[in-house]
Symmetry: C2
Subunit: 219 residues, 2 copies
């Protein structure tokens, strides 16, 4: 199976449960969610004219709309050529669950990688059972109940207090499934959002996720 | 049993495995380790003239050498009076394992708290089985093998490349016990130390711990 890849790079996971974990990020092209504050808007459209060769994807120095189809063998080949050592793979986007991720997660697991998917939960999640699902529900977007139930952690972006109402409505949907890993993440290091997240985390005993890579100024 | 308490406060755990977790920090007085870069030197000495009433400890606005004896009941009473909601307790210091922590950890667990101890591993660890041990070995200090084996995570402070030799010597001592949670933490947000930690984490597949509370400027 071929996947539209925007970029692939090795760094440190800066968010949520796996904060601090060396990771290979595979960013897929395409997203119908379109959050106002999105920091990867270049992944929204999957235009033919932006399609380039997969060699050029590897040499990408800065993020842009260009993408290339790759199958899992080619992805693994890139990791080997680049001699990347991280054993944790984050499949992100865009909205990666636009695509069937069963093959890619299973093949990568055969190569002894741990897979994580970062998704908005607006699409059906198709992947291996061992894949760690990070769900980031988005306000005014339909978060599928199956996605909520399948998620291993909820990493919820917050800008203002009212944003928390939507999270509470989601948690009500799964009241019998006690979700113990909930992270609040201030959007774009906004100071006010940070204070709201800290206060709420302490009251609700949720966890705070800050995008450490942005504080450390690494990719 | 009475413990010499330097300060007790509620905040967000900024380091290691529990990064982002709302926590109540109980800082004990006394430490024989004396690291050059220590950011709580005020806990080193347990002088009688610095002893104050336990009410005054609660009102402490800034960190200093003053301390007070408290038993577990009094500690729990403070948490209730202050209406703190965090359910994770970090017993730190100074070097908390100077003291027998069995009683305090067991009593707190009866109250449905999860306990974590942050220790240099230079003292025998006496605490409940469920307590999460964060071991921060210190160069030129004798890290007890029992402490290494008992630890749930190693959170290793790094300033320069040579610091890593000591960590490797420690890991050799426990080679048959595969330790899967190793964090490298740059000392005092030092830029060079951060780069050494990122590079080493990626090569060794260890995890990066940055003191997020210092980036967020919270206690």
């Amino acid at each position: 199976m071929y996947y539209p890849i925007n970029e692939i790079f090795q760094t440190i996971q800066g968010e949520g449960y796996y904060t601090g974990t060396p990771s290979i990020f595979i960013r897929l092209q395409g997203c119908p969610v379109h959050c106002k504050w999105c920091d990867t808007k270049y992944t929204w459209k999957c235009n033919n004219e932006d399609q380039i060769s997969y060699e050029k994807i590897i040499m990408k120095k800065k993020s842009n709309r260009k993408w290339s189809y790759m199958n899992v063998k080619e992805i693994i080949l890139i990791i080997k050529i680049k001699k990347w050592t991280a054993k944790h793979i984050v499949i992100t986007g865009g909205e990666p669950c636009l695509y069937n991720l069963l093959e890619i997660t299973k093949e990568l697991e055969k190569e002894d990688y741990k897979c994580q998917i970062e998704t908005s939960g607006t699409e059906l999640i198709k992947c291996s059972l061992n894949t760690w699902i990070t769900l980031s529900p988005k306000i005014n977007k339909k978060t599928l109940k199956t996605s909520i139930l399948r998620s291993n952690e909820i990493k919820y972006p917050v800008l203002k207090k009212e944003d928390l109402f939507y999270l509470n409505s989601i948690l009500k949907k799964i009241k019998n499934k006690k979700h113990n890993l909930i992270f609040l993440q201030p959007i774009s290091q906004n100071e006010e959002a940070l204070n709201i997240c800290i206060k709420t985390c302490i009251i609700k005993n949720w966890r705070l996720s800050v995008q450490i890579h942005k504080y450390l100024k690494i990719r």
